[in-house]
Symmetry: C2
């Protein structure tokens, strides 16, 4: 994979020109993407700034995020060739840091559940996950040092786990979603994908303009970690459980105190109600597409929106109340723990390309709005990842804990 930190070091030391760094990315894409299918459009002659803390860093932009210089096609024929007027807020921010929004990455249609035409770089017969399919696969295949995704259910953490890359779904609204196609305004959240935890910590600190997120030495000495199996979401595969145990032991080796955490019932209820909030809002957010292009919606999203027509405001209000209640209780949980360690996904990327896998270990946390990090756990076969979660707004803490586990796992 391409390390953002390493690229920036070489650029800072004058050993690599930003233009050259971008050219290397272009070459990697030309070589590998014909097989992976992660890129849907690219800027053939990008403007490459010489200055800026992200100068020389080519970024992949999930194709539900508006770009003024490249089409934004939402993974749907309804938006084929669609060219927005303006860049999304986060794309403007990347440019102001010197980064190059070089390519748009494949997304499932409207960031829903229907697979995109991307394969898992580790085994082309397996899904890369979704909905940020191209984003995760491009980083995993060493085609990009940084890429943007979004999560409404599990669309950042799941593909990151399946593809074996580091990723963070940021705290709700830490990163601006202006110019990002809406599926559910109470849930949609931006995330960053990179080769390692330090890479995404560096990137998030810069993009959010919050340097404290990247204070590498700030990892809590004896952090209190709650090991959470999310029993309400069912069981995970044995090798996912094994990876979680290894991560827990690595955390202890790094000085953390790891304790089992069983969440109160309020969280099971909130978890169960996530789809009501999501689909009640999706029905409104995608009302134009549904009313005018129902026949062009794919085979999972179409019926999902059909069913959503029956949801009532009362159901939605009740679900929002439960979520609010759980969010309050989560503050108490984070009084006892600095971070939660749990599954990123039920297992390795499933075989086949007709499903993007299951978001059941991600939904609750998206609804809670808290920062979630996927940390790949090294091993044989298709990648496995674990999820590190911190209190709302403590993205730096989630990353610091993830980094300490990453370091301990690398030591073996």
């Amino acid at each position: 994979m391409l390390s953002l930190t390493e690229l920036r070091t070489r650029i800072n030391e004058g050993r690599l020109a930003p233009r050259q760094a971008v050219a290397e990315v272009q070459a990697a894409i030309a070589e590998r993407d014909p097989i992976i299918g992660a890129i849907v459009s690219s800027d053939p002659e990008p403007i490459v700034p010489e200055e800026g803390p992200l100068a020389g860093i080519a970024v992949g932009i999930k194709d539900i995020i508006d770009t003024a210089h490249l089409p934004t096609q939402m993974g749907s024929p309804i938006y084929r060739g669609w060219q927005p007027r303006a860049d999304a807020a986060i794309v403007s921010r990347l440019r102001s840091l010197g980064a190059v929004p070089l390519v748009k990455t494949a997304t499932t249609a409207f960031a829903g559940l229907d697979p995109a035409a991307t394969v898992n770089p580790h085994d082309h017969g397996h899904t890369p996950g979704g909905s940020s399919s191209g984003t995760a696969a491009a980083v995993a295949a060493g085609m990009l040092p940084l890429a943007l995704g979004t999560q409404t259910g599990g669309s950042v953490i799941r593909p990151a786990a399946f593809c074996g890359v580091a990723a963070i779904k940021a705290s709700f609204r830490l990163l601006p979603t202006v110019g990002v196609k809406t599926f559910s305004w109470a849930l949609d959240t931006l995330g960053l994908f990179g080769a390692s935890i330090p890479d995404i910590a560096r990137a998030l600190a810069l993009i959010a303009d919050r340097p404290e997120i990247d204070l590498a030495d700030d990892a809590p000495r004896a952090s209190r970690i709650g090991l959470c199996l999310q029993g309400f979401a069912g069981e995970a595969d044995p090798d996912a459980a094994e990876a979680l145990s290894r991560a827990a032991r690595a955390a202890e080796a790094a000085g953390a105190i790891v304790t089992d955490l069983t969440l109160p019932d309020a969280f099971a209820r909130a978890w169960e109600l996530h789809p009501i909030i999501q689909d009640f809002e999706a029905r409104q957010a995608l009302a134009w597409e549904y009313a005018n292009h129902r026949e062009a919606l794919p085979i999972l999203l179409g019926p999902q929106l059909d069913r959503a027509q029956a949801l009532t405001a009362a159901q939605y209000d009740a679900a929002r109340r439960e979520a609010h209640h759980a969010r309050r209780q989560l503050k108490d949980v984070f009084g006892e723990f600095d971070a939660i360690l749990t599954y990123s996904a039920p297992g390795r990327a499933p075989r086949g390309l007709t499903s993007t896998g299951d978001a059941r270990f991600n939904r609750l946390w998206t609804l809670m709005g808290v920062p979630c990090v996927n940390l790949p756990v090294p091993g044989d076969g298709l990648p496995l990842g674990v999820q590190i979660i911190a209190r709302f707004g403590r993205d730096g803490q989630a990353l610091a804990v993830a980094r300490s586990i990453e370091t301990a796992l690398a030591r073996g």
Copy 2:
């Protein structure tokens, strides 16, 4: 003014065809808008549904709200001729109810403070208010029975008061802002303008699909009303104070118990910090426009965004915490009161067209996310309005109280 309720009654009784109702609106616009300047584009051959609870109702759409059939120009040359692909969620919803999104109404640039080219229908030398300038003026001039606006500071309630029309800024996110140009995602809120409180109650109940909003008989018998002068925001003009007194006496005549309400200091602090939240988000939301078209931004918005560049994440976080704190305290206030009665604006529409007036009596309530209704107080000269505010999510209650005062005022 054109009464939505009356039009719908005539249509229901077969005395008016939907097509004819829309044609009458078109004729009124052709006659009056050359002087008022409220309309920026219109559908010359609208599709007029025969069925639906809003069939025959022509609606004006503030020109920061996306429409698939009409340009969306944001009141700015940067978006001259810009044609979105999709309708905003609320426009789709209007269509599904049978309404006709007939025209786009003039907005200040990006819903900021720079005046649009609209005059006050009651005196063409006075501002109609902003930023929903065309929306308020078109309804006031009898050109539309219903129109959409948005409020980030005071952009619904202020122009409604200056133009003498009924309006509601709905509870935060009750109406979907998908497809509405963002200024501040924590504040931007949709609102409806009409000829009377029953008109906007009917419209809101239908659009939000919440029939309980329009239960006319549900006005609290002896509602407890807090009369609030918002001293932290300065004084109002004597005739605004007189209008507020008249409204309070009318409320009492309608059976309400009106008590003076002085808000705790937390609200003054939240009120003061509103611009920090607004401008910190606006800097991100308008980053593309600022980076690429700074010279095309108007004389108030350009420098506002210049200044916003200096705001820090720490200032923003602190402001958000204060707002959160005030929102909690407001729940206690609404334990004692069913509604708050206060100023809609500091006075009548100011003379001149270089300012849209002052939002100081509106900002706090936008930040609190609570429903706010403008009720015109009948009298001589330029219009005056009062503001009725209820607990978050109790839009129907704010409207019911406003209706009872409206009725009592009409009795004299």
